[in-house]
Symmetry: C2
Subunit: 346 residues, 2 copies
C-alpha cells in the first residue's frame, strides 16, 4: 500500500480511464490525486461515482506522491517529469518524450517486466500502436526469433484525444448530411476518409509514428537487429487500433504453432475462425484490456512469414492499462519505489 | 465505329458509370444497349441527360451486338457470357468468373494491352484491388523485376455495390444517433468499424479477395514467380480503395527512381510531399480515372524494399474505366472483333 498516486493529465481521454481503472482494480493507494493543466483543472471531475478535485499541475504537486502516471503531450511530460523525479516520485510516463532515452526503461509488463527494476525514476509506457504489435511478437520471438515485421495500421481517432473524437463525430454527421465539414485536429477531413499520416514527417519519408514502431519495438524486445517496416494510417473508427502484421522468423513456425503460442500468452486472446466469420473487430474489442488476434495464416511469399490481424483498445492496453500494470508492479515490489540516482536533473 | 455496344448489369453501381463513360468519351458505337436482370430491367434509366430503356438480359439480347461490357456477379457472367460469345459478341467481363481461365486474357490496357489480341471472345478485367496495385508494380517490374509484394488494403464500401453503400450510410447515421444498426450485405457492422474479410474463406486461411490479388497479379504481369502476401480489409469509406504496398525488387531502386518511373507511367499520378501533407486520400481521388501514389519511401527492413500508399477509384479504374479502355482498344483494332474459335461452348 502506498500513500498517494497521482494521475497527470487526468481530464484527458486516457487520464480518465486511468482513474477509473485505479478505482476498479482497487489500486493499493490511500489517495488518488488528479492533476491537469491550468486550462482543465479547477472543476471537480466525477469518475466511477466518486467526485475528485482536479489540481493544477506544478512542481509542489508531487510532494508526498510515491507514483505518478502521466498521460500528457510530450512537451508537458518534458516539464513535469523532472519536478516529480526530484521529489522522489516514480513516474510512469505515457508520453513519447523519454521513451528512447537509454536510462529509461520502456516497458510492457507481459513482455519485459524485468526492465522496470532498472529504472532511475522514470518508466516509459510505449506508443499504443507499438504495444499491441510487440505483445504479439514476443511469444513468437521467444520461440523462433523474429527477424522482420511489416505492419500497416488502421488507427482509431481516439488516439488523437477527445477533440479528435469530436471532430470525427461532427465531421461524419456533416458528411452524411452533405454539409460543410471542418478540421482542426487532423491534417485532412477524417469522415469517410483515410489519412496516411500520423505524427510529423521525419527524414527518409517516414512519420514520427512509424519510427516509434521501429525503435520502440527493438528497445522493448532488446534486439536491435529486428527489421520493422511500418505504415501508419488514421481511419474513421472511434476506438481500437487494428494492424495487418506480417512476421518473419528465423525458425519456421506453423499456423498451429503460432495459434498455440499466442493463446498461451498473457493478455492475448485468439479469435480466429474465418469460416465462422470470427476475427477481431474494433467495435467489439473496445473496452477490453486484452490484445486480440485473428486471420493467422502462412505467408506464401516468404519461407517463414506469418500474417495476422491484431486489434486492441488503444486507450486501454495501448495506454491506461499498460501504465496501471507498471504501477501495480511497483507497489508489489516496494524496493523499486526508490532508486540510486535520479534519471534527469530537476 | 461499331453498331452496338451492350452494357450488362447496367443498373448497378459500375454499370451506370460505364454508360456515363461511353457517353462522355463519345464511344464510337451507333447504339448503347442496356441490359439487366428481370428484377432491374423494365424501368427507363436516365444517364447523362439521356433516357435509356433497360432490356431484360437473355440469349437473344446479343444479336447484332459487337461488344458487350459485363458488370455482374460471377454467376450471372457464367450464364450470359456464353450466350454472347456464341453470337459473335466480344465480351469484356468485369466478373471474376473467367479471369483465371487460361484461354481468357486478363487485361489492364496500360500494362498488357497485347494480351487483348489473343482473345477468343472473352477479355477479363481484373479485380479492383488488383488493378491499382499492378498499375504501380508494372513500371518497377520493367525496370528492376519485382520479386515480392506485401499489400494491406483499405477497401471502400462501394465495391460491394449500391446496397453496400446504403448499408454504410444508414449504419453510420444509426451509429451517430446511438440507435440500433443492422447489416445484410456485410458480415459485420461496417459503421465506424473494420472488417478484415472480403469474399469467402479459402483453404490456407486467405479470403477469395486476397487470392485474387495473388493469382491475377501473376497472370497480368506474366510472371508466376512473383510472391504476393495480401490482407484485404473493408473500411467505412464511401468510395476509392487504398493500399499500403511494400514492393521488393531484384535490382535496387532508389526513391527518386521510383518517383520518376511512376510519374512517367500512363494512368498514374504521383502525389508525394509529406512535409506539405500531400498524399492521396480516398475523398479526393473519387471520380478520377487515375491511380494515385504517395508516401514513397525506402523500407529499411529489406535490401530493396519500397513502401508506398496507393489510392484509386475502385468503380472507375478498378472497374468501369478499365473495361471501357479495353472496348476502345477493340474498336481501334477492328480485326480483333472476330476470332478463331469461341472460348466457351454456348
Amino acid at each position: 500500500m502506498i500513500d498517494t498516486i497521482a494521475v497527470v493529465g487526468a481530464t484527458g481521454a486516457v487520464g480518465r480511464i486511468i482513474v477509473e481503472m485505479l478505482l476498479a482494480r482497487k489500486f493499493p493507494a490511500r489517495r488518488i490525486k488528479l492533476l491537469a493543466s491550468e486550462r482543465s483543472a479547477g472543476k471537480p471531475m466525477e469518475v466511477g461515482g466518486v467526485s475528485f478535485d482536479v489540481e493544477v499541475l506544478r512542481p509542489e504537486s508531487f510532494d508526498g506522491v510515491a507514483i505518478a502516471i502521466g498521460s500528457t503531450p510530450d512537451e508537458v511530460a518534458a516539464e513535469f517529469v523532472p519536478w516529480a523525479v526530484a521529489r522522489g516520485t516514480v513516474v510512469v510516463d505515457e508520453s513519447g518524450f523519454f521513451r528512447m532515452q537509454p536510462t529509461v526503461p520502456l516497458v510492457i509488463p507481459e513482455v519485459n517486466p524485468g526492465a522496470i527494476d532498472t529504472h532511475t525514476g522514470i518508466i516509459a509506457s510505449p506508443n499504443c500502436s507499438t504495444t499491441q504489435m510487440v505483445m504479439v511478437m514476443k511469444p513468437l520471438h521467444d520461440a523462433a526469433r523474429v527477424r522482420r515485421v511489416i505492419v500497416s495500421t488502421y488507427q482509431a481517432v481516439s488516439g488523437g484525444g477527445l477533440a479528435a473524437s469530436r471532430e470525427m463525430e461532427q465531421g461524419t454527421a456533416a458528411w452524411l448530411a452533405g454539409k460543410g465539414e471542418t478540421k482542426s485536429v487532423f491534417p485532412h477531413l477524417i469522415a469517410a476518409n483515410l489519412i496516411p499520416q500520423i505524427g510529423s514527417p521525419r527524414p527518409g519519408g517516414s512519420t514520427s509514428e512509424e519510427l516509434k514502431m521501429v525503435y520502440e519495438t527493438r528497445k522493448i524486445l532488446g534486439d536491435e537487429s529486428i527489421g520493422v517496416c511500418a505504415t501508419c494510417v488514421r481511419v474513421p473508427v472511434a476506438n481500437c487500433h487494428s494492424e495487418s502484421i506480417l512476421i518473419e522468423t528465423e525458425k519456421k513456425l506453423s499456423v498451429a504453432d503460432v495459434r498455440r503460442l499466442l493463446a498461451a500468452a498473457p493478455g492475448i486472446v485468439v479469435e480466429d475462425d474465418l469460416d465462422a466469420k470470427l476475427y477481431p473487430l474494433p467495435r467489439t474489442c473496445s473496452g477490453s484490456d486484452d490484445v486480440f488476434v485473428g486471420r493467422i495464416r502462412e505467408d506464401a511469399s516468404s519461407p517463414t512469414g506469418i500474417a495476422l490481424w491484431c486489434v486492441s483498445d488503444n486507450l486501454r492496453k495501448g495506454a491506461a492499462t499498460n501504465a496501471v500494470q507498471i504501477a501495480e508492479y511497483l507497489v508489489a515490489h516496494p524496493a523499486k519505489l526508490s532508486w540510486e540516482r535520479p534519471a534527469v536533473r530537476a
